[in-house]
């Protein structure tokens, strides 16, 4: 086990040390009491029925009532019965608290792990989430945490319990007869080792079967998602054969795993039973020789009967324990990732000033430079549009403004304050960013809009929705504002999501608004309406609009044209259409196309007359 795993595990145990210790104490008591019932039986058999002296050590032997010659036996016997019931009751209380406290301790630990993982993941940098695989992370946060929880509640307690049982049993049996004790435990080490070794094989076989199961699922998934192709090519029969291969392989692998497991259980049962017979036989000889009493014969056979199960279990746990350690390691891998940080005494300045990019160079981890010494200034309250080719760094600018990334060189300032020196959460709360493919949470649409402004009043929410042209589709949907959206809810169209995201950002009340191609899925008419509303609304707010729609771009105070990570052109719509360049070409396509088409049509009609169409 690696040290850092040990450290994490130790911390989980330490945080709940009281509960674990309490549970362990209860376990000791419960194990001890469990061994007492056969002892009472033995006392009755030997002392009351066999006339031997009491087995209770002095001074307690005074309590062992004498039957007296021909006296009434029922009283003392009932007493023994009562003792058995009392033992069971006290044992019950102990094992109840053992169970409850173990559960509390391990559930506390699991909860703190889950909480820690969740909040840690939230604080990991944007770059981490850009390359993370959701499925794998969720697996680590759920089944790996559950593995650790089971280790604490089940494996750990079982190891402790079994060790205690063996210890207490030894302490009780040795004084009676060392020889019988030795024989009674002779097969136990074998049973333990056998369980460990054989069960490891069983686990391995089942892993192979699980893989086959995964393959079968994959074939099924492929078939179900590709069902149209299968039908269109008339390949149902072949698919059935393909699935049958996987299905059969899965079945056969599981059957042979269970076969192995059956062998394990059969043989370990045999070993356990042989141990019991061995004990019984040696007890018979010792009892007949008068070296142990009938009562002790019962004690030995009972104890051995009680021990074989846990020992066999211990073997299985030890061979399976590795899995929990792997789980712990996978969890720790996440927790070791560095969270985002701010400088000490991070600033929270007023952000209504000018935005300045000063010779900014940026590349993503291991990639090529995206921004190559980019410089520009956006004045406070100005609306600036950005046009650029795919990969020219438009979206990067948006992310840099929220300090999701930091530039490798150069400075980004707002009102003269360097973004790097600001409190990042403060900065993000002041810069509203609407992405092209926004994420909505699994909540009602109402709660989704209020997500960044929980104190917003109903009227404000509705107004924001109206401004983002989201009001109509929300109120017209079946459950209206209570419609559940996101993963588990209604699927909204791309345009609806974009409008909801705009409303959500408007409610947030930002000093700077950045729209990263966030109206791409909205038709041009709605786009225009939204823009008009925004203009009304964002008075005094600095706005950056990334788009490729001329209609959107042309309304900006100023347009920046990015090419290859640099500022290629800059100016108003009127200025830019007059200059040759990317903007002019795009503008020609979007506004001049109809004229071009007219020409094409004339040409077409000419051809039509010639009968070529």
């Amino acid at each position: 086990m690696k040290t850092r795993n040990k450290r994490l595990l130790a911390k989980l145990v330490k945080d709940n040390a009281g509960l674990f210790v309490g549970a362990a104490l209860c376990t000791v008591a419960s194990v001890f009491l469990g061994f007492m019932t056969p002892a009472v039986l033995a006392e009755v058999l030997d002392h009351y029925l066999g006339g031997m002296p009491s087995r209770l050590p002095p001074p307690f032997d005074r309590w062992a009532l004498d039957l007296g010659a021909g006296g009434n036996a029922l009283g003392p016997l009932l007493g023994a019965g009562v003792v058995i019931i009392l033992i069971s009751l006290v044992n019950g209380v102990c094992s109840f608290y053992k169970g409850r406290w173990t559960a509390m301790a391990s559930e506390n630990a699991a909860r703190s792990l889950r909480d820690k993982l969740y909040s840690h993941l939230q604080e990991l940098p944007f770059a981490y989430h850009s390359q993370a695989s959701t499925g794998d992370l969720v697996q680590r946060c759920t089944s790996d945490v559950d593995n650790v929880r089971r280790f604490l509640s089940f494996h750990l307690m079982n190891i402790i319990t079994t060790a205690l049982m063996v210890g207490i049993a030894l302490a009780l049996m040795l004084p009676i007869s060392a020889k019988v004790t030795l024989v009674s435990l002779a097969v136990m080490p074998l049973l333990l080792v056998f369980s460990m070794v054989f069960f490891k094989k069983v686990i391995k076989a089942f892993r192979g079967a699980d893989d086959a199961d995964g393959k079968m699922s994959a074939v099924l998934q492929e078939n179900l998602t590709g069902v149209r192709v299968v039908r269109a090519f008339g390949q149902a029969q072949k698919e059935i054969e393909r699935f049958d291969d996987a299905n059969r392989d899965q079945r056969d692998k599981f059957i042979s795993s269970v076969h192995l497991e059956a062998g394990y259980w059969g043989l370990s049962d045999a070993l356990s039973s042989v141990q019991i017979v061995l004990t019984l036989v040696v007890c018979i000889f010792e009892a007949i020789a008068g070296r142990i009493s009938v009562g002790n014969l019962v004690v030995f056979t009972s104890y051995i009967g009680m021990l074989v199960g846990p020992i066999r279990q211990l073997g299985r746990i030890l061979s399976d324990g590795g899995r929990s350690m792997v789980a712990l390691e996978r969890i720790d891998d996440i927790l070791r990732q560095k969270e985002e940080t701010d400088l000490p005494e991070a600033a929270r300045p007023d952000l209504s000033g000018d935005i300045v990019f000063d010779n900014v160079t940026f590349r993503y981890d291991g990639g090529q430079d995206i921004l190559k010494g980019l410089s520009f200034t956006i004045k406070s309250g100005e609306t600036v549009a950005i046009l650029g080719a795919t990969g020219s760094g438009k979206s990067t600018i948006a992310l840099l403004l929220q300090r999701m990334y930091r530039p490798q060189s150069g400075r980004i300032t707002i009102g003269g304050h360097d973004l790097n020196q600001m409190d990042r959460k403060y900065l993000r709360s002041k810069v509203g960013l609407v992405l092209q493919e926004p994420f909505l949470y699994s909540k009602t649409i109402y709660d989704n809009l209020r997500i960044a402004a929980p104190q917003a009043q109903r009227a404000e929410v509705e107004q924001a929705a109206r401004d983002a042209q989201a009001y109509d589709f929300i109120s017209e949907s079946e459950k209206g504002w209570e419609t559940l959206v996101g993963e588990r809810g209604v699927t909204l169209s791309g345009g609806q999501k974009q409008r909801a995201a705009i409303a959500r950002t408007l409610l947030k009340g930002s000093d700077i608004l950045v729209f990263d191609d966030s109206l791409s899925a909205v038709d041009t008419q709605t786009d225009a309406l939204i823009r008009r509303n925004l203009k009304e609304r964002r008075k005094g707010v600095t706005a950056i609009i990334i788009s490729h729609r001329i209609l959107t771009l042309k309304e900006a105070d100023r347009i920046l044209v990015l090419e290859d990570g640099r500022l290629a052109q800059e100016g108003s719509h009127g200025e830019l259409i007059a200059r040759p360049g990317l903007y002019q070409r795009i503008n020609n396509i979007q506004s001049g196309l109809s004229e071009e088409e007219e020409a094409a049509l004339d040409n077409a009609s000419f051809q039509a007359q010639r009968g070529t169409v």
Binding site: R100, F243, A262, V294, L582
Partner: protein, 614 residues
């Protein structure tokens, strides 16, 4: 996810044995095995009952009289019993495993076959995730229940019956005293079992919610940062984990309470056996060994009773899964060839190709009306005539009925009213496979299957000569990228084609369609963008693929639409405009509007992409 919630929130329902008998009846092939297992369980129950009797025999026969004669025979018998027990344990586990996985195999085989027959209307209603969980986890759980629950019930019942009889025979007064605890144990078990099951269901529900929350937290991490929602999210999450903790501790507490209470009740029997039995010994009415045997028995009743209660609880829980699986296995396909057609042309799995007519490619919609199952009308009195070899582009807003028209042509659906004629004959008079074998289909999201590139090109005809597959690939310009792959045509494409890019997948799917050489071709064009170079390859591939075949294209790309022989502007299930690109542009109607709105943007994007290319 929502599906899972619904499952977990299912209210308590009465146990419905008829479902289980039905499943058992379906598992006819396993009856013999189940019978054998029951015998093995009987052996095990008897062994467990005999062990205390062996101790009794040892005490009464050897130890107390101090007589070892015949002891070795006794040991031999004991060892023989162990051998029997070992064999029975080994056999019952092995056989129960075989039952479980054979049943699962059979159910999956049937389910899969059914899924190959069910019409697409079924797939529209049932998301892939839903079908996946029916076919995987539901069937696993059911097979597990059938394989092992019966085993446990057999053991429990045999044990309870034989132990009762044995005790009554040995000493009926003592037996009655010990058996008196059985009714209270049953009551307590039922009481707790109900609550424990409910608590466990709550735990599973919370667990599903936590998984969902993690999923959302990770997928939405960027948005969360952007909106500075970390604290609120964490607060909500922490409430969930708190709930999970409470529910789990509650469930564990109930279990921890249940066991001591039952053991306390059992201790009453032990105490009675000890006190009353010993008193009888003193009176000479009972042997010492008998007392120890009864004390042992007194704690053995609880396990079988708990097992039975547990299994009934499990069956109740699994009932919904059982119903869903049976539902899948017994869904009747609503598109089926008539017996006459099957007679002549063969079924989906055994076609009689020798009787198939050549398909020419003339298609006629005659007064076709189509409604979905839920009553939503998509097409009404739709008429269309397509000449063999003609290329039709379908354009119009989403939900206008373009996909429905294509699905009707493929006979993925059939008209609710009216007829669709292929070469002048109602297509319901030919087999589905006949039509589908003449059909080429390229999807918006190309679907490949695990296997090599070559396997995928030859998907429709694995026996096709390799050279033909290469020719098909060359024809759509796919060979260029294929040869660049690690192993060329023999490169595995990964699950669902995951190792290829979208554009590459599209090219392979075109090659696949070309090799299939269909008379009818349907293309549901991708809206997702690929890089410029691939884009051009794909346009080229489309042109090559379409030529000489009757083709329908749900078109999104300008160049595709322009090259069509005829454009249909579909809205509201009707043909609103019809003609060539030029004709429709002149009209300045709906098509013109769509074109100027949508395709201008596309053209700009293309320009921006060209600029981006190095």
């Amino acid at each position: 996810m929502s599906e899972f919630y619904a499952e977990e929130q299912a209210p308590d329902r009465k146990l419905n044995f008829s479902i289980w008998f039905r499943l058992l009846k379906d598992a006819r092939s396993q009856w013999k095995r189940l019978g054998f297992i029951a015998v093995m369980m009987g052996v095990l129950a008897i062994v467990d009952i005999v062990v205390p009797l062996m101790t009794r025999f040892v005490i009464d026969r050897y130890v107390l009289p101090k007589d070892t004669s015949g002891l070795w025979l006794f040991v031999l018998v004991y060892l023989a019993m162990i051998a029997m027990q070992t064999y029975a344990v080994y056999k019952f586990i092995d056989q129960a495993g075989r039952v479980e996985f054979s049943i699962a195999y059979d159910m999956r085989t049937r389910g899969f076959r059914k899924l190959q027959e069910l019409p697409f209307s079924y797939y529209d209603r049932m998301p892939v995730g839903y079908l996946m969980s029916r076919m995987t986890s539901d069937i696993s759980h059911l097979a597990d229940a059938i394989g092992w629950s019966l085993v446990d019930i057999a053991y429990a019942l045999i044990f309870l019956i034989i132990a009762t009889v044995v005790m009554l025979v040995i000493n009926w007064q003592l037996a009655l005293g010990v058996l008196a605890i059985v009714p209270p144990i049953i009551l307590v078990t039922i009481f707790f079992q109900k609550r424990i099951l409910k608590a466990q269901r709550e735990v599973r529900k919370m667990n599903a919610q936590i998984t969902g929350a993690f999923n959302e937290g990770i997928m939405g991490a960027k948005t969360t940062k952007s909106l500075v929602r970390e604290e609120e999210n964490f607060k909500e999450f922490s409430e969930l984990t708190g709930g999970m903790r409470r529910a789990s501790v509650r469930s564990a507490t109930l279990s921890s309470l249940f066991l001591p209470i039952v053991l306390a009740i059992s201790s009453l029997a032990s105490a009675f056996a000890l006190a009353y039995g010993s008193n009888q010994v003193l009176k000479g009415a009972l042997s010492l060994g008998t007392v120890t045997a009864f004390v042992s028995y007194s704690v053995m009743f609880f396990h079988p009773i708990r097992d039975i209660a547990y299994i009934f609880g499990e069956m109740q829980r699994m009932q919904a899964a059982a119903e869903r699986v049976i539902g899948l296995l017994e869904t009747a396909p609503d598109i089926q060839d008539t017996p006459d057609v099957e007679e002549k042309y063969g079924d989906n799995f055994h076609p009689k190709r020798e009787n198939w007519e050549e398909l020419n490619g003339e298609i006629t919609f005659e007064h076709v009306t189509f409604r979905y199952k839920d009553g939503e009308q998509v097409l009404e009195d739709f008429n269309l005539h397509v000449k063999p070899g003609e290329t039709l582009a379908l354009v119009g807003p989403t939900g206008a009925g373009k996909s429905t028209i294509v699905n009707l042509i493929c006979r993925f659906y059939e008209p609710t009213e009216g007829r669709i004629l292929i070469d002048g004959v109602d297509y319901r008079e030919r087999s589905q496979l006949w039509l589908q074998s003449n059909l080429g289909y390229v999807l918006q999201e190309p679907r490949l299957f695990s296997g090599t590139v070559l396997d995928n090109i030859r998907y429709a005809d694995p026996q096709a000569p390799e050279e033909q597959a290469h020719a098909a690939a060359r024809m759509v310009d796919a060979e260029r990228f294929i040869l660049k792959l690690e192993k060329g045509y023999d490169t595995p494409v990964g699950e669902g084609g995951s190792r290829l890019s979208t554009g590459e997948k599209q090219l392979v799917s075109f090659a696949r369609a070309i090799l299939h050489n269909p008379r009818l071709f349907v293309l549901d064009e991708a809206t997702s963008s690929v890089d410029t170079e691939t884009e051009q390859d794909i346009q080229h591939a489309i042109e090559r693929t379409l030529s000489g075949r009757t083709s329908f294209i749900i078109a999104h790309r300008l160049s595709t639409i322009r090259s069509a022989d005829r454009i249909l502007f579909i809205d509201d299930g009707r043909i609103r405009e019809e003609g060539t690109h030029r004709e429709l542009m002149r009209k300045k109607g709906l098509y013109y509007e769509l074109y100027t709105n949508q395709f201008q943007e596309e053209a700009s994007r293309d320009l921006l992409k060209v600029k981006a290319a190095p």
